[in-house]
């Protein structure tokens, strides 16, 4: 679902960019997971058909953003958070919910580690990005990559980012509209709108 490992940008900018992904589980663990979730959240599964629902009426399938995430933990799907504090609070909520789902956080590794330890958790497995190899001269400019890599599946084309950024600079399009346009193309919903606005502000 997500290639959120390779999000690019300076550390200051990445301090406002955390993606929390609650995973589905493989077939082998499915029965045990289902039983556990049914005990924890009665009504989550209806008439024997597995219906993945997010708590308190949130819809499935798209990334959930900070304001909504305060309502409750997501059982399956992605949440985009804009600060370390929000991450810590959300992870605490997930820990207490004890859904049994694997949870992965993309973001500054040391910040994530610090949050986990503050709430009595520790990393289980870590993945580092060693960067981009090969014909890097074919890549677009760094500020464009900061935008395009926020869509895990590369659905936001570099030329489009360049065009909309130019439209914003010329006053032909509000920056909020440009960011919404980009976010709409990211079907997993992990495009960080708040960070994108800041990137446009810096250009």
């Amino acid at each position: 679902m997500t290639h959120s490992l390779h999000r690019q940008g300076p550390e200051e900018s990445l301090k406002k960019d955390f993606v929390v992904l609650a995973m589905g589980t493989g077939a082998g663990a499915m029965a045990a997971q289902k039983a556990r979730l049914s005990r924890r959240f009665p009504g989550l599964y209806k008439a024997g058909k597995a219906v993945y629902r997010l708590l308190r009426g949130l819809k499935k399938g798209r990334g959930v953003h900070q304001k909504q995430a305060r309502k409750g933990p997501v059982i399956r799907g992605a949440v985009v958070l804009d600060s370390r504090e929000a991450l810590r609070d959300y992870l605490k909520m997930l820990k207490e919910a004890d859904t049994g789902r694997p949870v992965v956080v993309s973001g500054l590794v040391d910040e994530v580690d610090g949050c986990l330890r503050e709430i009595g958790l520790k990393p289980h497995t870590v993945q580092f990005s060693l960067g981009v190899f090969g014909k890097t001269e074919r890549l677009p400019a760094e500020d464009v990559l900061q935008m395009t890599t926020m869509c895990g599946h590369d659905m936001v084309a570099p030329k489009l980012v360049e065009k909309w950024a130019e439209d914003v600079r010329r006053g032909k399009m509000p920056k909020e509209k440009a960011v919404e346009n980009m976010a709409r193309l990211c079907r997993c919903g992990i495009f960080n709108r708040a960070r994108a606005l800041e990137i446009l502000d810096r250009q």
């Binding site: 290639h3 959120s4 490992l5 390779h6 999000r7 990445l14 995973m23 589980t25 493989g26 663990a29 045990a32 997971q33 556990r36 992870l91 997930l94 004890d98 859904t99 049994g100 789902r101 694997p102 949870v103 992965v104 956080v105 993309s106 973001g107 500054l108 590794v109 040391d110 994530v112 986990l116 330890r117 958790l121 520790k122 990393p123 289980h124 497995t125 870590v126 993945q127 580092f128 990005s129 060693l130 960067g131 981009v132 190899f133 014909k135 890097t136 074919r138 890549l139 677009p140 990559l145 395009t148 599946h153 590369d154 659905m155 084309a157 030329k159 489009l160 360049e162 193309l185 997993c188």
Partner: protein, 246 residues
Amino acid sequence: MRIDEEKCTGCRLCIPYCCGGAIAEVEGRNKCAVDQDLCVECYVCRWSGCCPQDAFEETELEWPRSVRHTFSAVKAAFSDTRMDGRGTKEMKTNDITGRFRLGEVGFTVDVGRPGVGTTFADVEKIAMAVAEAGEGIEGGVSFVEDNPTTRLMKDGKSGKFRDDVRGERILSCILEFKIEEEGLMKVIRALRAVAEEVDTVFSVGCISRCREDGTVPVRAMLDEAGVFYRPNGKVNVGLGRPLSPY
């Protein structure tokens, strides 16, 4: 994907939407067309609604062209793994699966990413290079079976791909494999070398199961070898149950 010439007015609004750079104006005709060699069948042009005339039409994708869609669209499921095209669970479920254990290093190589695209011919070059790097290490390089890219290989060891898919162009795919820790630098050196031989880019991820105290063995090894890694990464926080005993 193709453009219905009858409907196209040549407005060119669609051109920057194309992830593969496959849409261009047809010279002198005031129409746009899709270059079928460059098109990765991601369907962004169609579902984005960028065409005011709704001129984009999906074409029937037969094998092997169908792998373009599987490895480029977001919600296309790969029949063997039943996961969305490029998707793989790699370390994301490691607390349940134990796929990567202490003493091992996992790698993900996103070929074509970010945003350049690739063919399986280049994917094969990279896969064969890392397979060769694993020679002499106990167990060698082991490509993860539950991964759509591995399923297109002739076998899980040599890194060779099926002849019929080699020429297909896709947005990206993920080579996923693991090796004993002692092979870490051999693989990284092989990736650096093959980077000179491919006509694309690839993004490399390096996976390590943490020790009991939460420290990351591979981090010290990368530091000692002076290998660059970004400050941001992915962390499995260990909330999956049942917890892997590994």
